[in-house]
Each structure stands twice: as structure tokens, then as C-alpha cells.
């Protein structure tokens, strides 16, 4: 019958598209692995735990980049999470109905700004501001902590973390807002009827209801921060160092790939960069897997 053949065709086409995704992932992993072979051969596991990055003598270690990537993303998350949740709560629970669409749109527009523009703004506006006001003040009052020690040079881990946080706020805020909006009115009203204030309804009913979804929102934001390249490259200082101070320059995997691929003339140099890419891929995958596990655990616990 005609209908049946139509169904078959659709199923066939859809299956092909779905397989393309799978094939793409497999191919990417294969290419990354193949490209990394010389570097893996030469450095083995030491690649992961050494800090030298010396293209001249061809000694390569990934540790500063892994450190820079993860720490800058964590800083971004620490800053972005409370701000995003605040925005989402405002948009879904507090803002007067008529202003919600406009503010929502603005938040979403933030996500549409090209990252090079964030980078330029970061370099010419934020970094001087950090250098002149924020970092000296932090140094004066909290300088006894290693976190805020050293010279205020503006570019560095702090600048990288902040610019990343600004870039992931729209994502986390928009997803969180959607999650809060799915909390049924039925339960919020039950809270109001018990004499809960607006804030108590948010804290005791909306947040617990949204918890597993929020893990997903955080996962999306963190994933974006891990891989973000352009803006962070412009403000993080691009020095493969591991320092306790947030004022010190750092380097992320995505940044070093963007900066050095064109210069990588020797086979081992190129291969080391590809292995870095493989590591970034694995970090993202691991993080995603853990987050998904958390979401599933949360769902089944209910």
C-alpha cells in the first residue's frame, strides 16, 4: 500500500540521518586518535601530567591547558549560576507579565552576539577595568589568599572566567526559565494556600521541582564554557602556567589550538595539538556523562 511505502521511506531516510550523527562521532574520535599516535607514542601518560610546552625542543605536556580549561570554566560557572538562576526566577516568577517577553528576548539576544565581540569588549573594556579597580581592590582586601595574590595585570584567569561566565549566562538563564515554567501551577498554588510567601514558593516548591532540569542547564553552560575559544583567547593571557592566583595568565586547550595550529610545523608538534583536542573531547564527554547520570539518578529517585 501507498501509505506503508511512504512510512518505510521516511523511516529509511530518518535512520540514515541518525546514523550519520553516529558515524560523525566515530570518525571524529578515529581521526583524533590517529592524529595523536606520534604524541602518545613519544610521551605516553606523561603528556597528561607534565607542564612544559616547548615547541623548540619538542617537549609537550598538556597539564597547564587542562588546568586552564577546567579552572576557567569552573570560575565561569560559579559566577554564572547564581546570576542565571536569578534571571530565570525573575523571568518566570516575579516579572510582571507584560515585560517578560521583552526581557526574555534580550537575554536570548545576548547568546546571539558573536564571541569575537565579547572578546573585543573584554579586552578593551573589561580587562582595563579589572586591572585598574577590581584586581587592586581584591588584592588589598583579600591579598593574603593565594587566590588574589600577585600583580594586577588585567588579562588572566579571572578575566577569562568572567568573560566565559557572561557568555554562558544567556544559555543557563534561558534553559532554567523554561524549566521553572514547567512547574505546575497546581503545586505553587498549594504552597500559596499554606501561607507561603512568593519566595517560599520558589524555594520550597519551584527549586526542588526543577532540580534535575537545572543540572541539565548547568551541563549545557559548562559544555559551552569548555569549548569556547575566541573571547577567552583574547583575555586569558595565553601563557601555559599553573598558578594559584586568579590574576595570573593562563591558557585553555581551545585557545592553544586556535593560536598554534598554523605554526605547528613538525609532526610531533601537530600531533601534540591533536592529542590536546582529543583530551578536550574526552573532558566534554566525561562531563556530559556525569551530568546525565546525575539527571537520571535525580529522576529515578522521585
Amino acid at each position: 500500500m501507498k501509505l506503508v511505502t511512504g512510512d518505510r521511506a521516511i523511516r529509511f531516510i530518518a535512520t540514515i540521518f541518525a546514523s550519520v550523527i553516529l558515524a560523525l562521532i566515530v570518525l571524529i574520535v578515529y581521526e583524533l586518535l590517529k592524529g595523536s599516535v606520534p604524541s602518545i607514542h613519544k610521551f605516553g601518560l606523561k603528556f597528561l601530567v607534565t607542564s612544559t610546552w616547548d615547541p623548540v625542543s619538542e617537549h609537550f605536556g598538556a597539564l597547564p591547558f587542562v588546568f586552564g580549561t577546567i579552572v576557567s570554566s569552573v570560575i565561569a560557572l560559579v559566577i554564572a549560576l547564581p546570576v542565571s538562576i536569578g534571571i530565570a526566577v525573575f523571568l518566570s516568577e516575579l516579572a510582571p507579565r507584560p515585560v517578560r517577553p521583552a526581557v526574555s528576548l534580550m537575554v536570548e539576544l545576548l547568546a546571539a552576539i558573536p564571541s569575537i565581540i565579547y572578546g573585543l569588549w573584554g579586552l578593551f573594556v573589561m580587562v582595563p577595568f579589572l586591572q585598574m579597580y577590581v584586581e587592586p581592590a581584591l588584592g588589598r582586601y583579600f591579598g593574603f589568599l593565594p587566590l588574589f595574590s600577585g600583580a594586577p595585570i588585567g588579562v588572566g584567569m579571572l578575566a577569562g572566567g568572567i568573560i566565559l561566565s557572561i557568555m554562558i549566562i544567556p544559555t543557563i538563564a534561558a534553559v532554567s526559565r523554561d524549566i521553572f515554567n514547567t512547574v505546575p501551577m497546581l503545586y505553587k498554588e498549594a504552597g500559596f494556600a499554606l501561607g507561603m510567601t512568593r519566595w517560599e514558593v520558589i524555594e520550597k516548591i519551584v527549586f526542588p521541582h526543577a532540580r534535575s532540569g537545572l543540572i541539565g542547564a548547568v551541563m549545557l553552560g559548562f559544555g559551552r564554557a569548555l569549548g569556547e575559544t575566541m573571547a577567552v583567547t583574547m583575555v586569558i593571557g595565553n601563557a601555559p602556567t599553573i598558578a594559584a592566583s586568579l590574576f595570573a595568565p593562563s591558557y585553555t586547550i581551545a585557545s592553544v589550538l586556535a593560536n598554534e595550529f598554523t605554526e605547528a610545523t613538525t609532526k610531533l608538534y601537530l600531533s601534540s595539538l591533536i592529542e590536546l583536542a582529543l583530551i578536550l573531547f574526552v573532558i566534554s564527554m566525561l562531563f556530559n556523562a556525569v551530568a546525565r547520570l546525575l539527571v537520571i539518578r535525580e529522576r529515578t529517585a522521585k
Partner: protein, 252 residues
Amino acid sequence: MAKKLVIEHLNAWFGAVQAIRDITIDIEENGVTAVIGPSGCGKTTFVRCLNRIHEVVDNAMVSGRVMLDGVDIYSKTSDPVLVRRRIGMVFQKPNPFPTMSIFENVAAGVKLNGVRRKDRIADTVERSLKSAALWEEVKDKLHKPATTLSGGQQQRLCIARTIAIEPEVVLMDEPASALDPISTARIEELIQQIKERYTIVIVTHNMQQAARVSDYTGFFLLGELIEFDRTSDIFTNPRDKRTEDYITGRFG
């Protein structure tokens, strides 16, 4: 008998749609007042105006006065949060908090009132569950999620949650409409047991239920209060033709 609630010229809107018109009615203390009428006539909206929960809906508006012990709950100085602690509500659809255990559901409102001592909270939870005729069924699984209960049990849990904060008035919006006959009978029995301590306003579209549980009955039609009287009078001797038509099942 004293008048617990005095409602004067109460109107309520959803945006431009007026749901109830110029309702004036007195609710007797420690009595059960039933609100009956066909679907969409404004019964739910009416009771939701009595604890100021109507206004949490977008674009919702209210005018008129609702005096609780002589003080208008809609006056500028009255706080809706405090009003709702004195006037509790059980909703049509059982809505225990799905993220909380049975115990936590009943304790939720108690903690809001500043009770911190664990033993006192536990006492109140037990007492409320006993009042709601649910204690025997749940005492061994108090820390299981509330969603593991049956619909009828969930509704009794909601009643327990409401009376745990010792409101003076309990509003019930068709509390048994989603339940099977046995659960319905238990809820009706429960109303009889707790009515000495609370003033109860119950919405129902089930006239037998109104006749069984209530002392007074108000009949609503198209947003207006058509007739209000002792339940026995409404059912044996209605003054308005429309009331008579409704209770004899001619429409609705």
C-alpha cells in the same frame, strides 16, 4: 451562631471575563456551607476569592469585601500570606508536593509558622494525619514520597496538610470529584468529624453530597448567587424556580 465570613458585593474577573457577580453571603462559624451549581458557574472562583488565591492567577481581579471576623481581608493593610494561614484550602485535584515525603507534606506549613522543635512537628503531623483519617494507612511509610499514595489518600493528605496549620476556615473545592465512591465517603465522613473545629466551605456539583454534609447551601448560576439558605430548605422548598430546576436535575 456567629458569622465567620461576611461577603459583600464580591466580583471577580479573569482579564475582561467576569466570573462572579455581586455575591453577598454570610458564612456561619463552625458550620458547613455548600456551594452548588452547574459547571463554569463560578463556584471555584468564588471560594478562591475567600483566601485571596484568585489573585495569583495572571490578570485576575477582585472587587468587594470579604470580612473575616469583621476585618476585610482585601483591605490595604491585610497581608494575603497571613489571610491564607487562617483560611486553608483543599483543591479539586489532589496536589501533595511531589518532591516531598508524606511527613514533609504535612510538616511544610507547620514549619512556615516557625515551629522548629522536631518533637512538636512530629506531634502535629501525627495529630493531623489522624484527623484526616490517614494515619493508620501511612504511619509505617511516613518518609515515602507522597506520590506513592492513591488518589483518595493523596486528597486526605492534602486535608491533613491544610488542617496541620490550624486554620479557622477550610475551603474545599470539589474535594472528592476525582475520587472513587469509597474515598468520597471517607472524605464526607471526615468533614463531619472536623466541622466542630473549623468553618467549612465546600464546593460540590454533587447535590446528594451537599445535602449530606452541609448546613447551608448556596446555588450559583452564571456567576450569580441565585439562592442561599439552610440546606434542608434549599432541597425541600427552594424559593427560586431555577434552583428547583437544578436540584431536580432539569439542567446542569
